[in-house]
């Protein structure tokens, strides 16, 4: 009896060691704004990543994904410190992040030097994938991919000939504004004013008054975070500039704007036209499965935003790379480079030689209706 007990203990210990020896891990560093004004990105991003990890808890090809979150606060300085810390202490095989363009640009050269891929799902600045980095991959459409369709739709579909561009004073805002201005002017449109503002501006009354004095404005492409967009839309409606306030101009927005903006802005958002990459109304199975799982985990009344889904997709893509045989940073980079039409909730991912997702097949336009719902536009 005693011998049998000893044998059982020995077998258990051996089995435990055997499991530990076989356990293989892909370490994923996640840099997100968890503090500061951009911290809602971090909260939503973490929701998406946690859900994906829960669904993959059985592992992929014998590998477990191990995640470490770091607060990069949407700030270049904090992101730099955070990425150095995560590289030193956690030794990740891949890093997801950041959301804000300025912070993403700050960490790119550090990860390039460390030969660790950076998977970005929220920055638009052109410089991120135009600077020759071999280890940068981005699934979020860049400024040109977002602004060019806006300019075309403004000129061709909406018949707009005059525009006022509103944008935050950041790399992302500048790139989006330029990305709209150049093709719009080349097509024959006229930009009456380019109005930039800091992220600390809350009261847009003076800006709306100025726009109201500029004469006929057809479209107002706007590139700012959600909170400022809400206040801007309301000020423009009060100035009777935009359709939501009884004016003629159409306010246009990019993928920056999360689902739920319309409800926050209220009637001011009526007639707002924007491009979206993640649309909860999309019928693809992967989208509807994601929404069901998201609601089951976080509450039946919650609708995931593009921030949730982009973060969820980053984990799916890493899992796909592992499924295709990736085992370390270099092989993850190689597998990513070979991705063609990998289906995720925000579309199909095909990385071009610069690391930018070039498949925009699910990106489409929507218009906010009187009841604040979205009407999909076939543009």
């Amino acid at each position: 009896m005693k011998l049998a007990l000893k044998g059982a203990i020995l077998a258990f210990v051996c089995a435990t060691f055997a499991v530990q020896a076989q356990e293989k891990v892909i370490r994923v560093g996640v840099l997100m704004p968890i503090s500061g004004p951009g911290s809602y990105f971090g909260v939503m991003g973490k929701e998406g990543i946690d859900l994906a990890l829960e669904q993959l808890k059985g592992g992929v090809n014998g590998y477990h994904l191990q995640v470490q979150y770091e607060d990069s606060a949407c700030s270049p300085l904090q992101a730099t410190n955070a990425v150095k810390r995560v590289l030193d202490q956690f030794r990740p095989h891949i890093v997801i992040g950041e959301e804000c363009s300025d912070a993403s640009l700050a960490i790119a050269p550090i990860l390039e030097q460390a030969k660790v891929p950076q998977l970005n799902a929220g920055s638009v600045t052109m410089k991120l994938t135009e600077s020759g980095y071999r280890y940068v991959f981005r699934i979020f459409p860049n400024a040109a991919q977002q602004s060019l369709p806006l300019a075309k739709v403004a000129y061709d579909r909406l018949g707009a000939r005059t525009a006022v561009i509103l944008y935050e004073k950041t790399n992302a805002g500048n790139d989006n504004a330029d990305g709209f201005e150049k093709p719009f002017v080349a097509m024959g449109g006229k930009v009456l004013a380019k109005i930039d503002f800091g992220r600390d501006v809350n009261d847009f009354t003076a800006i709306a008054t100025r726009i109201a004095s500029l004469g006929r404005v057809d479209v107002l492409p706007t590139f700012a975070l959600e909170g400022q967009q809400v206040r801007l839309a309301q000020a423009l409606a009060q100035a009777k500039v935009v359709r939501g306030g009884g004016g003629n101009a159409v306010q246009m927005g990019s993928i920056w704007l999360p689902y739920g903006f319309d409800q926050k802005a209220g009637q001011a958002a009526e007639g707002y036209v924007r491009i979206v990459q993640f649309d909860p109304n999309e019928k693809r199975r992967i989208v509807q499965d994601f929404i069901r799982a998201f609601r089951a985990k976080y509450g039946a009344d919650k609708v995931p935003t593009h921030i949730n889904s982009h973060a969820y997709d980053t984990i799916l893509l890493i899992a796909e790379a592992v499924r295709r045989g990736a085992t370390d940073s270099e092989s993850i980079r190689e597998r990513f480079s070979g991705f063609k039409g990998v289906e995720v909730t925000t579309g199909r991912i095909s990385f071009d030689p610069k690391g930018q997702n070039s498949d925009l097949s699910v990106v489409h336009f929507v218009e906010t209706q009187k009841d604040l719902s979205w009407k999909g536009l076939d543009w």
């Binding site: 911290s39 109005i195 009354t205 009777k240």
Partner: protein, 282 residues
């Protein structure tokens, strides 16, 4: 109102309160939850009544918070006679309040709409939201009440006496600690009410106050640290300059213009627009 609270504390305590921004945010959240949850859903008040009630709730929350922070942090440090420690403590209180609100309310911005924010008033081509008019009206009333209190009441005179010379005021039978506590309570109540007024204007998150505090500091310095009239004048001046900057130079240059003005003021007239008169006996 935010700048007025800052200057009031500096005038009496010779201390800068870095936590003032967070008192504004606490006021904004108090008003938000009072208006959208308690007053409408529990008391069944209409929107306008609910919002007006929420302003008083924010005023009370600011006052209570000021009282608590003074009793727990500022007063014990002041008693040790060190000027640096209370200053550093205000930074600590600021970080603590910001993170407490982050834990309680989360980082996703709240949409705080007052019934006044939905109304627009027009004079020719110029328009205002009724909320802006309310902000100006309530601020004017609060400033007038504060001015009257400081000028014509016994407590106000005692407060000014403490501001001029704490020790001599003590010898005259005035309790300086009580009056310092009163100053902090008044300044915090003003911050709370400012939060209620600015809530529908700001992007309401635990970091909302930070967006107004830098400008408030600039106003206080331009006006003359510790001088109420100077602060009011500087507040109006900065507002007008901001509006003209947006109209004629571009909104991206607002900070450049305001802070260039601040530097110019520091170089040419370091005492501010209206210098605080301090008499010394030789």
């Amino acid at each position: 109102m935010v700048a007025l609270g800052l200057t009031l504390i500096y005038g009496v305590l010779n201390q800068i309160n870095f936590a003032h921004a967070d008192f504004v945010t606490v006021g904004a959240f108090t008003a938000f939850f009072t208006a959208t949850r308690f007053a409408t859903k529990v008391l069944g008040l209409p929107d306008t009544g609910a919002y007006l009630l929420s302003m008083f709730a924010a005023l009370g929350a600011g006052a209570l918070l000021g009282l608590a922070v003074n009793a727990a942090v500022f007063a014990p440090l002041r008693d040790r006679g060190d000027e640096l420690r209370p200053l550093i403590a205000t930074i600590g209180v600021s970080v603590l309040l910001e993170n407490a609100q982050l834990a309680l309310f989360g980082p996703i911005p709240y949409q705080f709409d007052s019934p006044f924010a939905r109304e627009t008033l027009r004079i020719g081509r110029i328009f205002f939201s009724a909320q802006s008019v309310l902000v100006v009206a309530v601020s004017a009333a609060a400033i007038a009440a504060l001015y009257g209190f400081m000028r014509f009441t016994f407590l106000g005179k005692a407060l000014r006496a403490v501001a001029q010379d704490r020790e001599t005021a003590g010898l005259m039978g005035i309790n300086p600690n009580l009056l310092i506590a009163l100053t902090i309570v008044i300044a915090s109540a003003l911050a709370g009410m400012a939060g209620a007024l600015l809530g529908p204007v700001l992007v309401l998150s635990p970091f909302a106050g930070a967006s107004v505090i830098v400008k408030a500091f600039a106003i206080v310095i331009i006006g003359g640290f510790g001088n109420m009239q100077g602060t009011i004048l500087a507040g109006i001046l900065v507002g007008v300059i901001e509006a003209f900057t947006v109209q004629y130079l571009g909104s991206g240059l607002i900070d450049l213009v305001v802070f260039a003005m601040l530097l110019l003021m520091l170089v040419l007239r370091p005492t501010g627009l209206i210098a605080e008169r301090k008499e010394e006996n030789v």
